[in-house]
């Protein structure tokens, strides 16, 4: 029978106490692991905004953070729109009916409009044009890839592309049709759009987006801006003819159009640093009355600094407390049984065990208790995260699995706990080491 076997027996002998000690430890660790992973996921979700295919968002005046949350993360309350004319100030001559470059065109490489406000089964619907997936890049800096199908064409008014998560969750495939609802999920049902493509997974909020041709979007009930003097309930100037119908409907007149935001990639000109160019453009826009420009990376960083960092600190504190409480738990449970232990130690020493053997069995016992509790807690924490993973995915746009996350802090947690347990067990171990054998062999007292 090895020292390990002896330690194991001692644990079994005090099974109830041992189980309670390990359980309290496991729960603490599970709590920490689950929080660590969730915090890591939330942070990654926001940090992934750094890999956007654009560096500026232009939208209605108001909170720049809300503009970013809406446009990038597809969360927060919907925001006001900007005028079609303002949007066209970002377009080059070739894309404008008047053949003259827009006011900001020189500073802009690509400008992609987005229109928001509709939902499809809980997911945000974004009206845009083909440029979104044709000309912008995704997280890795490369072009968007399609898991199935292709991007919609600009002249296919009722074409749409689904984010990976949306297609998977709703079981939609290329060729299927879907009808967004106006405003909230219980709003009026719009005309059906046809899925032309499903995006490959990006692990960004794009996975949660439903992207439709904005020409079709404009034609939906309530989407046309009322003309001056008309009431808001006016039906669109042209009658919509959804997918499947013969012929292409007439597009909505420019006067009735508006967009929610413009995703802008600023141009880079030799000799002029891109940052300066972006700064100049932002200033110019923000001085005007038509809207505001926000830099998503800057807003995200501020958000992280403001909320996530302090949360992380708090989390670290909680982790430290849990570890300390666990160690105290081990200490208490082991010291509590030291009377029984003294007799055991005396017997073992009478059998020829050395003090170092006795010391070792107590420490091994602590390591087993802490290790088992720690590992169980680790597994429990991951299972917990996996079980609430879908919730996180829908809310943060990042998939979470059983083994997701494993930040350094988490990897260090169990070893740190074992070390601390050994530290805590030193007290009973030394008591065992010093047990007066002769006295205990005569019986307790």
């Amino acid at each position: 029978m090895s020292l390990l076997g002896i330690a194991w027996r001692t644990i079994r002998q005090r099974l109830f106490t041992s189980l309670l000690t390990s359980l309290s430890l496991a729960l603490g660790v599970a709590l920490v692991v689950a929080t660590l992973i969730t915090a890591g996921v939330v942070k990654r979700a926001f940090a992934s905004g750094g890999g956007l295919g654009y560096n500026m968002i232009v939208g209605a005046k108001g909170s720049p953070l809300q503009l970013v949350l809406n446009s990038v993360y597809l969360i927060s309350r919907p925001i006001e729109n900007i005028s079609w004319d303002f949007y066209r100030e970002f377009l080059p001559a070739a894309e404008r009916p008047d053949g003259m470059a827009g006011r900001y065109a020189a500073s802009v490489q690509t400008a992609v409009p987005i229109c928001m406000g509709d939902y499809f089964r809980g997911y945000r619907v974004i009206g845009t044009n083909a440029a979104y997936f044709d000309r912008m890049t995704t997280v890795d800096g490369g072009p968007f890839r399609f898991a199935a199908g292709v991007n919609f064409r600009d002249d296919d008014f009722f074409g749409g592309v689904l984010g990976h998560e949306v297609a998977r969750r709703l079981g939609l495939a290329v060729g299927d049709t879907f009808s967004p609802t106006h405003g909230a999920d219980d709003g009026a049902v719009h005309d059906p759009f046809r899925v032309t493509g499903i995006l490959a997974r990006t692990d960004t909020p794009v996975d949660r987006g439903v992207y439709v041709n904005m020409e079709g979007f404009f034609l939906q009930e309530g989407h046309a801006k009322p003309l001056d003097g008309e009431s808001a309930s006016t039906t669109p100037a042209a009658q919509a003819q959804p997918a499947g119908g013969g012929g292409r409907p007439a597009p909505l007149p420019d006067a009735q159009r508006e967009v929610t935001a413009v995703l802008v990639t600023t141009a880079s000109i030799p000799g002029l640093p891109a940052e300066l160019m972006a700064m100049g453009l932002k200033q110019a826009i923000n001085e005007g009355r038509d809207g505001q420009a926000a830099e998503p990376v800057r807003e995200i960083r501020q958000l992280l600094d403001l909320f996530v960092r302090p949360l992380e600190l708090l989390l670290l504190l909680v982790t430290a407390l849990v570890v300390i409480v666990s160690a105290i738990g081990i200490l208490v449970s082991m010291v509590g049984s030291s009377l029984e232990r003294s007799r055991d130690v005396a017997i073992m020493r009478a059998l020829g065990a050395r003090r170092s053997h006795v010391l070792a069995t107590v420490l091994i016992e602590a390591v087993l208790l802490a290790g088992a509790g720690g590992l169980a807690g680790w597994v429990l924490g991951h299972l917990l995260v996996a079980s609430i993973g879908p919730l996180i995915t829908t809310n943060a746009g990042v998939s979470v699995g059983v083994l997701s996350g494993a930040p350094l802090a988490e990897l260090l947690l169990v070893p740190a706990l074992v070390l601390l347990a050994v530290g805590a067990a030193l007290l009973p171990a030394i008591a065992a080491y010093r047990t007066d054998v002769a006295r205990w062999l005569q019986g307790p007292g």
Binding site: I347, R354, P444
Partner: protein, 230 residues
């Protein structure tokens, strides 16, 4: 066979009285021997130092001075870990009560003793030893599930686990009822005879001491015990 397995020469042991400078002498033994394979009963009034003598012989306590030679090794000059080793390999101990580890089965109690000795833990031998004391059918019982007499029998089996040269028993029958007292003594004597092991039994019972070929009173060779303590 005439070389002694235990040899004490000019052994002294005193204790500091709790909370004072005053020391009381417990052992002052000019000479004590036990030959290999010899069986000896040790009597003496309470407080005469019988348990202390056994502790000094087994190396659990160290003599203040003198030589304590166990199987040719003077353990008085050895550091504690080496004394522990001698105890594990050469000696088997049986006490009045609280002999067994409560969390371990009968078999495991024997195996634990083997773990601290030089040899390997031998399940077969442990089983044989327990069968020899009539507990072949109680191998996997915990001490709480055994009678006091059965527990003492496990202790006897365990004392022989590492093939010792000496078995020391400190009042092994004091907690056992009269009917089982004889059983335990017989068991100790026959197993020790079988294995050629020297046996030193401390007892207060004259009917037990009377069965031994050698019968010693501690007061006779311990000068410190002649003036009864307190």
């Amino acid at each position: 066979m005439d070389r002694p397995v235990i040899e004490l020469v000019e052994v002294r042991k005193s204790f500091v009285m709790p909370g004072g400078e005053e020391r009381i002498d417990v052992l002052d033994i000019p000479e004590f021997r036990l030959d290999a394979g010899a069986h000896c009963a040790l009597e003496g009034h309470s407080g005469s130092g019988k348990s202390t003598l056994l502790n000094v012989i087994s190396g659990i306590q160290r003599a203040d001075s003198g030589r304590v030679v166990i199987c040719g090794t003077d353990i008085g000059s050895l550091p504690e870990p080496a004394r522990d080793r001698v105890r594990a390999d050469r000696l088997g101990l049986v006490f009045q009560q609280f002999n067994l580890l409560p969390g371990f089965t009968a078999l495991e109690n024997v195996l634990v003793a083997m773990a601290f000795g030089s040899g390997r833990a031998d399940r077969g031998r442990a089983t044989d030893l327990l069968s020899a004391v009539g507990l072949g059918h109680r191998l996997h019982h915990k001490p709480a599930e055994l009678s006091v007499g059965q527990q003492q029998r496990v202790a006897v089996a365990r004392a022989l686990a590492n093939r010792p040269r000496i078995v020391l028993a400190d009042e092994p029958t004091a907690s056992v009822d009269a009917a089982h007292q004889q059983q335990v003594i017989d068991l100790l004597r026959t197993t020790c005879t079988e294995h050629g092991v020297a046996l030193l039994v401390v007892t207060h019972a004259p009917e037990v001491a009377g069965q031994f070929p050698h019968r010693l009173r501690l007061e006779d060779f311990n000068r410190a015990a002649r003036t009864p303590a307190r």
